[in-house]
Amino acid sequence: MITLKNIDIFYGRIHAVKRVSLHVDPGEIVALIGGNGAGKTTLLCAISGLIRPARGEILHKGESIARRSPDKIVRSGLSHVPEGRLVFKPLSVEDNLLLGAYGRFSLKARRQIKNDLAEVYAMFPVLKQRRGQCAGTLSGGEQQMLAIGRALMARPGILLLDEPSMGLAPNITREIFRHIVMLRDRFGLTVLLVEQNAKSALRVADRGYVLETGRIILQGPADELLANKDVQRAYLGRDVDL
């Protein structure tokens, strides 16, 4: 679905991402874990076109997208739910969702968009209750649902999720992760999931990559990574000697 080959990204003189290669196959949930400042968010922003990589190639459905503008990338079926959710706070919940379908607005698509809106409301009933409210008045968990719903309104084939559990209570986090799995199982969505909360992410993922200071240091099936002693020590907060 997407393939990254030898990606290098710089912020000024800082080498934030170093020769990273990874791939996500259709229907997979892939977790990208690592500590603060490892380059996870930077990598996602490069895939969605917000940042230009200095070197390397990004393929989406076989086409190179590393030089494409973000709005064209969204139209080609790749949606990115950004870190911190970034909902449009003064706009209503419904307007936020409709803006998610901005790229495919036309008179012909109107009915389709209406159906998709109903589907998102069915998935997150709380958003329907609050449809007329300003998005800024929602709780953190509701804003995360709104951000995911907004991304789904673009009818993506692949969803990039950046720290969906950030700042949420554990039970809300579990609900969000349950939805992520459901999106894949029910709608065949492919997911690339970035998380600091490594344990929750690896539990729902098929495969995982571990990023440290801009490099991929480990990769493999999610259950292997969960059992890996280095991963446990560094990211799962478990003392291996016990």
């Binding site: 917000l50 709005d71 970034l86 449009f88 409709l98 803006l99 901005y102 790229g103 991304a151």
Partner: protein, 293 residues
């Protein structure tokens, strides 16, 4: 002072105030999508008036088509300004972009002076100049045109921003550029559109005001400043505040000139602005900036 004169001041204040309001709206639209204060906004107003005169006199068109053509030309000028002076340096800091707009305004003023000289021009009133009596005051038909067209523009913008996906997309750009990109909005195109709409609104203001106040190559300076003052008065970034700020400024100015002295007409606006900023830095209708830390 009798009530008829007071009513007279109010009417002339509202008339001039609505063009301040239109100028202020132009500032607001660009500010909201880009964070830039476009100091060439006054030049849009000047061009609206001057080009209408030009198309009428030189090209020999009737007044309505001259104005339509002038407004279209200024809308296009707005697009060209964005495309050739703002977009090539769009990653520069906001303050640099603002300074560019000051340069653009000087450039346009210079061109206008070279093309049309330093004379003042008048546009004939849209429907004659037979005054209408109203409770002892006198209303010029042009005043009614000004108020009606301003109201029309205002409601048109309101419908655009709250009723269409493009208007909402523009608000989304203002709110969060990164998120706007991620839902598939081409932010560059929105910035271009904001300059075009600002050009259009400014030009309409210039064209409808020209029969009342005359126009020349340099009317944009003072109109731009007044429009900016109206923005600040109403609260920068709030379209409703911009329109209201314009009206309030126009009325205050008119009463100041009528009741105190017309020599200080231009000073009233700025004195009131300063006083307000001491008391309420965010403007009358602005929300106080609160940052979470």
């Amino acid at each position: 002072m009798d009530s008829a004169s007071l009513l007279q001041f109010l009417i002339s204040g509202l008339t001039v105030g609505s063009t301040y309001g239109l100028t202020a709206l132009g500032f607001t639209i660009i500010f909201n999508t880009t964070g830039i204060i476009n100091f060439a906004q006054g030049e849009f107003v000047m061009l609206g008036g001057m080009l209408s005169v030009f198309f009428m006199r030189i090209a020999g068109l009737d007044e309505a088509s001259a104005i339509v053509l002038a407004v279209a030309a200024v809308t296009l000028a707005g697009a060209l300004i964005e495309r050739f002076t703002i977009r090539p340096v769009k990653d520069a800091s906001i303050i640099n972009l603002i300074i560019i707009t000051i340069g653009v305004s000087i450039f346009i003023r210079g061109l206008a002076m070279l093309a049309w000289g330093k004379d003042t021009f008048a546009l004939p009133p849209f429907s004659g100049d037979a005054p209408i009596a109203l409770f002892g005051a006198v209303v010029m038909p042009q005043s009614i045109w000004v108020l009606a067209i301003s109201l029309l523009i205002l409601s048109g913008l309101k419908a655009f921003f709250s009723g269409t996906i493009y208007g909402k997309g523009m608000l989304a750009c203002a709110q969060d550029k990164k998120a706007a990109y991620l839902v598939g909005i081409s932010v560059e195109r929105m910035v271009l559109l904001s300059f075009m709409i600002s050009g259009l609104v400014g030009a309409v203001g210039g064209a409808i005001l020209a029969p009342i106040t005359l126009t020349s190559f340099d009317v944009g300076v003072i109109l731009g400043l007044k429009g900016f003052a109206a923005c600040i008065l109403g609260g920068l970034g709030n379209p409703f505040g911009a329109a209201a700020g314009g009206l309030i400024l126009g009325v205050l100015e008119s009463f100041g000139a009528g009741l105190l002295s017309s020599a200080y007409k231009d000073a009233f606006a700025f004195i009131i602005l300063l006083l307000l900023l001491f008391v309420r830095p965010s403007g009358l209708f602005g929300t106080r900036e609160a940052k979470r830390v």
